[in-house]
Amino acid sequence: MPSELIHKFMRIDHLPHIWCAGCGNGIIMRDVAVALEELIDDPEVNLNRGKVVVVSGIGCSSRAAGYMDFDSIHTTHGRAIAFATGIKLAHPELEVIVLTGDGDCSAIGGNHLIHAARRNIGMTVVTFNNDIYGMTGGQYSPTTPTGDRATTAPYGNIDRPFDIAQLAAGAGASFTARGSAYHARETTELIKQGILHKGFSLIDVYSVCPTYYGRKNHKGSAPEMLQWQKENMIPAARYYAMSEEQKRGKLLIGTLTHTEFPEYTQEYAKLIERAQAKK
């Protein structure tokens, strides 16, 4: 029950949140909370709530950390993954969750993203990807589609967009997936898989921003934007049954890459053993 979840895992003193009506971020934050709840309650996983650290950067998405009732740190713009790297390496037993946005993690924080992926350091990055800089009022981001409009792209965006999950996969992330605000159950499951995965995981979750992105680009109301996700983002089971022709223009909801590489902090523990044996 949602209300129970809110009482258990949200800081109700600090709600309501600051997001606009119709914003997809609340849904994604709830997906993260449900994923954590299910792993805490699962006797086989037995995730320790006191060892969960939620890290965020700056932007609309990054306010989520403050609403979630865990150890939480709302850092500087773009640096969430770098802070998280320090937290995880200093105390590898901590379960580090990074909540970030498209601009935060792939523009100003892009360097930290690709290098954390390359190191395969154990953390779960959830991007609240709304195709726009919302906190500053609607400027184009690295995921704004070419041709779309933003306050800083008044004649149409000539940049090519990133696919954040593919970017992380290309940089060596051992678990990457794509979710959406509409596909809450599937996304929650992907976040759970990401947390259970030992190395670096990234779940790129498509949010909706009716206030800035939607309005600038005539995408309609929040329900209409969610409807677009329903029609154009296809959960894995159905997606893989489709023909190439049917897949055209559609996006997979599901896992993109899932490989096993040595996790960074575990490798560091071995390095310490080697250094101490040599001394």
Binding site: I73, T75, T76, A82, G86, N111
Partner: protein, 380 residues
């Protein structure tokens, strides 16, 4: 007790050994001349003592990782030079506001931008104070020998933990790359401060609570079940963003006052032959080496010269310098920059007596002869 033997150490190496003695167990950095030996030595030494070293993708990430490690309760450090110090500034400000202890070493090199990477200078003095945006508290310490590098970096960690603030360890290439004999104190001789940790029940709801008469909050490290929030936004005692100007004003004021109201504890100076002096040479860091030689040579020539050296360079030791002015006829500021600490000295002394200046920004080192010549000019 047998007399302790000296060991030959480079300044940068002493910085690492002192930091480890202070309990530093996490280092994140990015290679940059002339601080690189600090990263290299940490890569060797930290795993040996169970600590962690990581070479990050850039300076921004290094500073962020250091703060991340520190919130888990680990004493953490980074080191840099030149452009790297500029890049660190963003998250130094975060550490100041969120009150996260850490030590940032800056081994200063010459010039703006890439400048002269292997040459000494002291041009980051003002940047150490005002490098990050907004009014913020700063403690900066500057060593003048390899021995002092070892003991002073321990003090840097102690002050950082005590006041929950980043401490800038302002070295220069002169000291960083110099080798000298160092007598290492035994662990029993060292005073090591631990972090302020609160064990009050429900402290997580008031993690930035500061009792009456105190200036520094006490909070548990992450991962101990407290579930509190840290933010770089202006926040209330619960650690959550506030829109109240009164609450924000109280916070920003307390951050300044926790340093300003504890100057006696924080500020240290070295005074040499000042009691009967009519002239004080003021200097800091590696410049003190030439100044000491010049003072001794001046004394041999019958001139009444002494030296005043801020060891704590921020906050500037204004009260200590003011207390010395009565007996003096003139002050000479000597530093490897275009006149930065000079401004602080003028603020204290310029109305009472003449303040001379000897600076250098070409990457070479000021010699005792240069200082003597300037002293003679001032006396004439």
């Amino acid at each position: 007790m047998p007399e302790k033997k000296a060991v030959l150490m480079q300044g940068n190496e002493a910085c690492v050994e002192g930091a480890i003695a202070a309990g530093m167990r996490f280092y994140a950095g990015y290679p940059i001349t002339p601080s690189t030996e600090i990263a290299e030595q940490c890569a060797v030494r930290l795993p040996q003592v169970g600590g962690k070293f990581i070479q990050m993708e850039d300076e921004l990430g290094s500073m962020a990782a250091v703060l991340g490690a520190s919130v888990t309760g680990v004493k953490a450090m980074t080191a840099t030079s030149g452009p790297g110090f500029s890049l660190k500034q963003e998250n130094i400000g975060y550490g100041c506001l969120a009150e996260i202890p850490c030590v940032v070493v800056d081994v200063q090199r010459t010039g703006p931008s890439t400048g002269l990477p292997t040459s000494p200078a002291q041009g980051d003095y003002m940047q150490a104070r005002w490098g990050t945006h907004g009014d913020h508290p700063v403690i900066a310490l500057s060593p003048s020998s390899v021995q002092e590098t070892y003991t002073l970096i321990i003090r840097a960690f102690n002050l950082s933990e005590k006041y929950r603030t980043p401490v800038i360890f302002l070295m220069d290439e002169i000291v960083g790359h110099m080798r000298e004999g160092v007598v290492l104190p035994s662990p029993a001789e060292l005073i090591i401060n631990k972090r302020h940790i609160s064990y009050r029940d429900g402290a997580n709801k008031q993690c930035y609570f500061v009792p009456e008469g105190a200036y520094v909050p006490a909070m548990k490290p992450f991962g101990q079940g407290e579930r509190y929030n840290i933010t770089g936004l202006a926040h209330d005692v619960s650690g959550f963003p506030t829109g109240s100007n009164a609450v924000a004003g109280d916070l920003f004021t307390r951050l300044m006052e926790k340093i300003d109201h504890n100057l006696d504890d924080i500020v240290r100076v070295e005074e040499f032959m000042l009691d009967d002096a009519d002239t004080a040479v003021v200097c800091f860091g590696g410049t003190a080496r030439a100044a000491m030689s010049a003072v001794l040579e001046a004394r041999a020539a019958g001139m009444k010269v002494g030296m005043f050296r801020p060891i704590t360079v921020w906050p500037f030791p204004a009260a200590q310098l003011r207390a010395r002015l009565a007996g003096l006829k003139r002050v000479l500021m000597v530093e490897h920059n275009y006149g930065q600490m000079l401004l602080e000295v003028q603020r204290v002394a310029a109305e009472k007596l003449p303040v001379g200046f000897l600076g250098r920004i070409d990457g070479t080192v000021i010699s005792p002869a240069d200082i003597l010549k300037k002293l003679r000019e001032m006396e004439a």
